[in-house]
């Protein structure tokens, strides 16, 4: 078990290493020097100035050196400076992380707490009217673009409640805080909720067909006991793995949701950095996102390995 964990950790480091190379190269594929782009947009013309900036930023050195320089910085906690604000990357990003984290966690919580029960209901009442309705609804939820849902929610609030759940530095009441985080979390979590619901449903259906369910019934267990003590436990295994995959997807949803609700989180910051061509920022943000995704996946795999006795104890 410990070896398994170690091996996975090594794989994780290797993967992140690969990601760093990929992102580094990707941002430099574009024809045109970074300095040119910045330069032209800033409006400076003096070539000497431009040359100074280039050498300041280390852009005149060969790519490999630039990469190693960045990598070295990463390892030592020096993430460089933003091209745009000239402040250290860390200073810009750090305060935004808890905001996004809170949103993400709430979203996942929402998704699991709504998706699983609805999925169980749908599975237990397979092919009934309520099953069809739930399936159609979940499919509809999966078809709506997250940003449109956000816009609609905002519109609804504006037109009916007169309140805009826009982000505020310090919410003055619990109600305000709930609105501020809860509404965007539910919006971005709806899609995940639908996915989890569908997965729970198909997983439950699969499990209910198994022999051990028949055995449980032959012992005289009541239907609720069969469903919750025997079936649900087994059905949840694939759902656990999906949560890992969903986290990656959630980030994409957060990008647009934070934009729509004007929340100053990491995801929205990525878009801003891309728009401003702030390459050091983009690089580091992407590394951060990749690290979170890979780490969450590792965590999920570990959880799975612990929860399933067939893996935990071997044979």
């Amino acid at each position: 078990m410990f070896l398994y964990f170690l091996r996975r950790l090594g794989l994780m480091v290797f993967t992140l290493f690969g990601v760093s190379i990929a992102i580094f190269l990707l941002l430099r594929i574009a024809p045109g020097n970074i300095a040119d782009i910045l330069f032209d947009s800033a409006g400076m013309i003096d070539p000497a100035e431009k040359q100074k900036i280039i050498s300041d930023l280390g852009l005149d050195q060969p790519l490999v050196i630039q990469y190693l320089h960045w990598l070295n910085g990463l390892v030592h906690g020096d993430f460089g400076y933003s091209y745009v604000s000239e402040k250290p990357v860390l200073q810009e990003v750090l305060p935004r992380i808890p905001i996004t984290a809170r949103l993400a966690l709430l979203a996942i919580l929402f998704a699991v707490c709504t998706g699983v029960p609805v999925g169980v209901v749908s599975a237990v009442r397979q092919n009934s009217a309520i099953d069809y309705v739930l399936r159609v609804f979940s499919l509809a939820a999966l078809s709506m673009p997250a940003f449109w849902l956000g816009l609609l929610v905002l519109m609804a609030f504006v037109n009916w409640a007169g309140v805009l759940p826009i982000y505020d530095q310090a919410p003055d009441s619990l109600w305000a805080a709930l609105l501020m985080f809860g509404v965007p979390a539910a919006t971005v979590g709806l899609r995940s909720s639908a996915l989890i619901m569908r997965l729970t449903r198909s997983s439950m259906l699969e499990v209910m067909r198994q022999d051990y369910i028949r055995t449980a019934r032959s012992k005289g267990l009541s239907e609720p006991a069969v469903t919750f003590i025997h079936a649900l436990r087994n059905a949840m295994l694939p759902v656990i793995t999906t949560i890992g995959v969903e986290t990656a997807f959630l980030f994409g949803g957060l990008v647009v949701t934070e934009t729509v609700f004007n929340i100053p989180g990491v995801a929205r910051f990525l878009v801003e950095a891309i728009r401003w061509r702030d390459y050091p920022m983009v690089q580091n943000l992407v590394m951060f996102i990749a690290t979170v995704v890979v780490a969450v996946n590792l965590l999920v795999d570990l959880t799975y390995a612990i929860v399933d006795p067939r893996i935990r104890l071997g044979s």
Partner: protein, 319 residues
Amino acid sequence: MAPVLEVSGLSTVFHTRGGTVRAVQDMSFSVEPGELLAVVGESGCGKTMMALSLMRLIPSPPGKIVAGSVRVAGTDLLTLDEAAMRKARGSEIAMIFQEPMTALNPLLTVGRQISEMVALHENVSGKAARERAVEMLHHVRIPEPRRRAGEYPHQMSGGMRQRAMIAMALACKPKVLIADEPTTALDVTIQAQVLDLIDDLRQEMGTAVVLITHDLGVVAEVADRMIVMYAGRKVEEGGIGDLFADPKHPYLRGLLASVPRIGQPKRLQEIAGTVPPLSNLPPGCAFAPRCPSAIDTCRDTMPGLEPKRPNHLAACWVS
């Protein structure tokens, strides 16, 4: 002694897209306490469906028990409401299945799966239930029962899993045990051990056992009496001595003849043809198309069960 299990006229059908499948037709038999009745037949003859019918575990949208009664110690199970039936399952009548690996929940310990049953049917504390689980494991001759009780099914061998299933089924001392091909998935050597175990336990606990199998060797080992099923019906019944020595129904004769014997120089004997689909049975005797001794009456009229000898019934016009 009064029989503890009395099945009378049991009929089960399945409504499928391909037609109505008459899985069990007019089954009647009885078993006394401590007796082992074997139910023999090919795959697809309805043995498992009959077993599930006794437990009322037939999946209800396509399937339905349409006629008959199943009396255990006088109470007809088919008339009970769902809650009462659930009480009966495990405490009055229990079942063990063919594939112990898939029949046990992989995520719960074996001990838990046994104690769950005890806690459900008897008013004992959790601790007492757990103790009983360990006791039962000991009873079925599993070494180190306490340790095994904390293990998961995948950590045990096939034979041990089957024993654990037996422990689970017998934990609440049911009056009837139905064993659906309990040894088919096991090695021959383990088979013998498990059969011995079932035999010993039924003698010790006085449980009536209905053993379903397609293996005549197993029947010869442990059974007292035997029923032969064909296409959902009972076609022969009697003590195994009588049936093996002088089978009256051509199907049983064919089955016995097809068992290979050492020193037999000739080709293996087979029964020509295949079992007819249960959704499209011919009128008259279902075995007629394959029967070497069939006459016209066989093909148009269903033979009833006649006693060909005392305590030896067969459904055949010819014998």
